[in-house]
């Protein structure tokens, strides 16, 4: 089984400049005044080329914000010159005026950078249903453009934080037969690409020289086994966006599989950092399902378990309640995941508390209190496929943070 999140920092540096680690990129993070707190709230990442290949993947929610509607159009030609991101407001369900705010932001970025507005990806995160203050936003773009620096990646990561307690950065430099290239990125959010506790935004850059069609294949190949394997609270945001930009500044064109392997390390690290900083969580929980007939079966069973409030509350209580694991596995239809409900094994942190769907080791042997990480292994005895999905426990702090978010 390959869990791209299990060893997320395998060769990945998390204390660097993230999206400006690769040659050809500048970044900035400034305070535009969108957040009542007065903290930084506007980020800009610019691709100085020579190439400006780009792609992105978005939330699959049918209700999407103006920035997602705009950015879907931007990437159709495979060219992305810059990404502008703001916290302090998601610009979702804000009508035509909200779309005009997004459009005006892209136009402003295009104007100050001398690029086409149609090559500017826009991302916004925050509360749904409130207009952004356009004047502050546009003035903030001017400030950000003036602050652009080759070591501005960390500032950018700071400016997109909402409930995040730390910025998420990752970068890796890889040497292959073709030469040496770098991939770096930043992310915010406490959830994932599809489901999300809060909106997840991510910008990844590389100085590899790759055309946009390769990027468009590589990005989902990476997100599908990293961000898509994180499910903090099962809620799908209206704004999730992961953008990938390539400057070609290294002059190196790696083989596609080598690029994907490196990209997965970066997205895996960022995804794992999101879990580790999830709102109010006290445990990071890996649910690994093995013995499945297909990948889909393994992922579906794992996801069913990670979405159970009863299971997640038990983990918060340091209670190795394997009955709740089994009960969730049983909710997956047989046509998706064929297995014998009377022959399932469950291990928690290495202790097999359930074997053949019956009690085995004493649950008192399981230590959940000592470590933040919890590993749940479920063996379906129905095949050779496996998958891991990461989640968090359900805590008082989660309820507190999410009951007090907008008021």
């Amino acid at each position: 089984m390959t869990d791209y999140l299990a060893g997320p920092h395998d060769g990945v540096a998390v204390d660097g400049q993230g999206p400006t680690a690769a040659a050809g990129f500048r970044g900035a993070g400034v305070t535009a005044g969108l957040k009542a707190s007065g903290r930084p709230d506007l980020a800009l990442i610019v691709n100085d080329g020579p190439s400006q290949a780009g792609t992105a993947v978005f939330t699959t929610n049918r209700v999407v914000g103006a920035p997602v509607m705009w950015s879907r159009q931007v990437i159709t030609d495979g060219k992305v010159a810059a990404v502008v991101l703001n916290s302090g407001g998601a610009n979702v369900s804000t009508g035509p005026e909200g779309f005009q705010d997004t459009h005006a932001t892209a136009e402003k970025v295009g104007e100050v950078l001398g690029v086409s507005a149609g090559d500017v990806v826009v991302c916004s995160t925050g509360l749904i249903g409130e207009r952004l203050p356009r004047d502050l936003l546009l003035a903030g773009v001017d400030v950000a453009a003036a602050e652009l620096r080759a070591d501005g990646g960390r500032d950018a990561a700071l400016a997109i934080m909402t409930t995040d307690s730390v910025p998420k950065l990752a970068q890796i430099t890889v040497t292959t037969d073709a030469g040496t290239f770098t991939i770096g990125g930043m992310a915010k959010g406490a959830g994932m690409l599809a489901p999300a506790m809060a909106t997840m935004l991510c910008v990844i850059t590389t100085d590899a020289d790759l055309p946009s069609d390769v990027l468009a294949r590589a990005l989902p190949a990476a997100t599908s086994v990293t961000f898509d394997r994180v499910d903090s609270d099962g809620c799908m945001s209206t704004s999730d966006t992961v953008a990938l930009l390539a400057s070609g500044a290294s002059g190196v064109t790696p083989a596609e599989d080598e690029f994907i392997a490196a990209l997965r390390k970066v997205t895996g690290s960022l995804a794992r950092q999101l879990v580790a900083d999830a709102e109010g969580a006290s445990h990071d929980v890996a649910v690994s399902v093995s013995g499945a007939s297909t990948q889909e079966a393994a992922v579906t069973v794992a996801r069913a378990i990670t979405r159970s409030n009863l299971f997640k509350a038990a983990i918060f209580g340091n209670d190795p309640n394997w009955g709740r694991v089994l009960a969730q596995a049983g909710t997956v239809p047989e046509y998706i995941a064929p297995f014998d409900p009377l022959n399932v094994d469950v291990s928690i942190n290495g202790v097999m508390v359930c074997r053949g769907s019956r009690p085995y080791a004493d649950r008192a042997e399981v230590d959940l209190a000592s470590e933040r990480e919890v590993i749940i292994d479920v063996d379906l005895h129905a095949g050779a496929e496996s998958a891991t999905v990461w989640t968090n426990d359900l805590t008082h702090d989660y309820v507190h943070e999410n009951s007090a978010y907008s008021t």
Copy 2:
């Protein structure tokens, strides 16, 4: 729109003898010693006839307890002489020995009542993965049989409580052209038939004279619009059982539709009582979706909303966060629920805070703090169908109760 839970006590008495309200039934609730607390934990409901028609519906979970495996067989011949229920242990994932415990319980009931063990439905609720103390269980059956009384329904309801704070009872007497008949019932649990916060058990009895094939049609016709429209936390139990027994003691054979109408009132009342007593909840929340193209579309959108932790936490915080309502509606695939994501209305407690997917009335006008009940109306503007699903808010107490359940 017919919401069978909106006026649940319409003609239904909730302070009577529930499952022994109808003629031909006796009940008892005793302390067998299964619960550490020493509270009543064994209930018995007996059908003295003259008819012993019966049916049941069970959880759709593939992982089921020994009692469900047993009882599925019991009902195949349409005859149910008695139902024995215990709290203090679910007898799920307990292997062949656990099945033998259930079998022995049914044999014991058959022996003391002089009926076939094959006509005894068995229900158990409590922790998964632990054997029941068979000696205590069987001795408890003797005690219960000696205590059987025509006014024992309330005692029975008390004996099946787990985290319930009050027993749930309902009864209605209906006069039709065919004559007068009574339906009564009891339930425990804080969830629902399919998903369940804790196991949901329910026994309904009637003195109407109806064959088992009519009962087998009537019961799902009632549960599908009542218990199935309650979704406290989206978790599906391994033990949920709703049994329906008819004694024929009234000598009255009502028309099937009249019986179903009355049955829906009883199951509606019990379902609504479950919501009102859900673990740790501070709000009962009705999510009504109208303007849907089909019933399935309406129910699926409503259920998507009721399963959102973000939405439920916002309600706990008395925050009319309509963005989280819209975001959940958007997660339903278009082939299930066609609607325009840019043309959805959301009202909260009668205040239309979102119209055409944009802000409308000031959210400050919404009062969530004054009442336990919260009504969310979502209009998809895509058809004439509607449905309501009830849920609860996500609270600190929910997390507390479910993080400390088994330890």
